[in-house]
């Protein structure tokens, strides 16, 4: 008997939002599916592969900040199912 192949990690769905110049380039939001346990950085990698426009405006040499569930977050953040992730330029309020 051969060993059972490991089951793939269940997928989770996250909502991705863009603001300011990123919203103008990519639209206000999109839904993404990715393996459970994925990080914000892995989500960004998937987005970078989506289109040349994504690759340009989300490139890691660009000033882009991230939030998860309405709190500033870094790429090591693990995404729970149903998370809302946002990408945006440095903030300029006040």
């Amino acid at each position: 008997m051969s060993a059972p192949t490991p089951a793939p990690a269940p997928a989770i769905t996250v909502q991705v939002r863009f603001f300011a110049a990123l919203r103008e380039a990519l639209g206000p939001q999109q839904t993404m599916q990715l393996p459970a346990g994925s990080t914000l950085g892995e989500l960004r990698n998937m987005l970078l592969d989506q289109s040349s426009r994504h690759a340009e405006v989300l490139a890691r040499d660009r000033a882009v900040r991230c939030a998860m569930n309405h709190v500033m977050a870094d790429e090591a953040t693990v995404l729970p199912a149903g998370a809302e992730v946002a990408f945006f330029p440095p903030v300029t309020g006040g």
Partner: protein, 160 residues
């Protein structure tokens, strides 16, 4: 009274300060800061600024920074108003007002809150001139201002 308002309407400094200290006989000092729309370039007239924000996160971020100010300074009350939408040159954008027993803590907390807001609250300014429109760049100087308080949370740089 709510501590934070995000609104398109203008605000009245006198009315906001009166409401902030109403009913609290322990208030001996109020420090306030009002930010206004300036021309980002050459001082030419005819420009407008549009403010975008991230509804939900904006309120969260400002409530959290007010909590940090209360933990750090001896202050009695804080009020923050930030406008969104289209604003003209010279319009008021932001109000931070802090009430305390003595002036020192009110001045410090007011500056702490503004340094925080400039680098951590999700607002973005887009300036329109007759020549076209552009997103305003973040300033490294604002990150430096926040670091004075021992908070290292860079905004303008490339770090994600």
């Amino acid at each position: 009274m709510a501590r934070v308002s995000i609104q398109t309407e203008d605000f009245d400094l006198t009315a906001e300060v009166a409401a902030l200290r109403a009913g609290d006989g322990g208030v001996g000092a109020v420090a306030s800061f009002v930010g206004t729309v300036r021309d980002q370039r050459d001082g030419s007239t005819g420009s407008a600024t549009e403010l975008e924000h991230y509804p939900g996160m904006t309120e969260n971020a400002i409530e959290a920074m007010i909590d940090r100010a209360h933990a750090r300074f001896r202050i009695r009350a804080v009020r923050v108003v930030h406008r969104i939408g289209v604003l003209a040159l010279g319009d008021q954008i932001v109000l931070v007002a802090v009430a305390s027993a003595h002036r020192g803590q009110a001045f410090e907390a007011c500056e702490f809150l503004m340094d925080y807001l400039k680098t951590q609250a999700p607002f973005w300014k887009k300036e329109s001139t007759p020549a076209g429109s552009h997103w305003v760049d973040a300033r490294e100087a604002d990150d430096t201002a926040l670091r004075r308080w021992g908070v290292d949370a860079p905004n303008a740089g490339r770090a994600a």
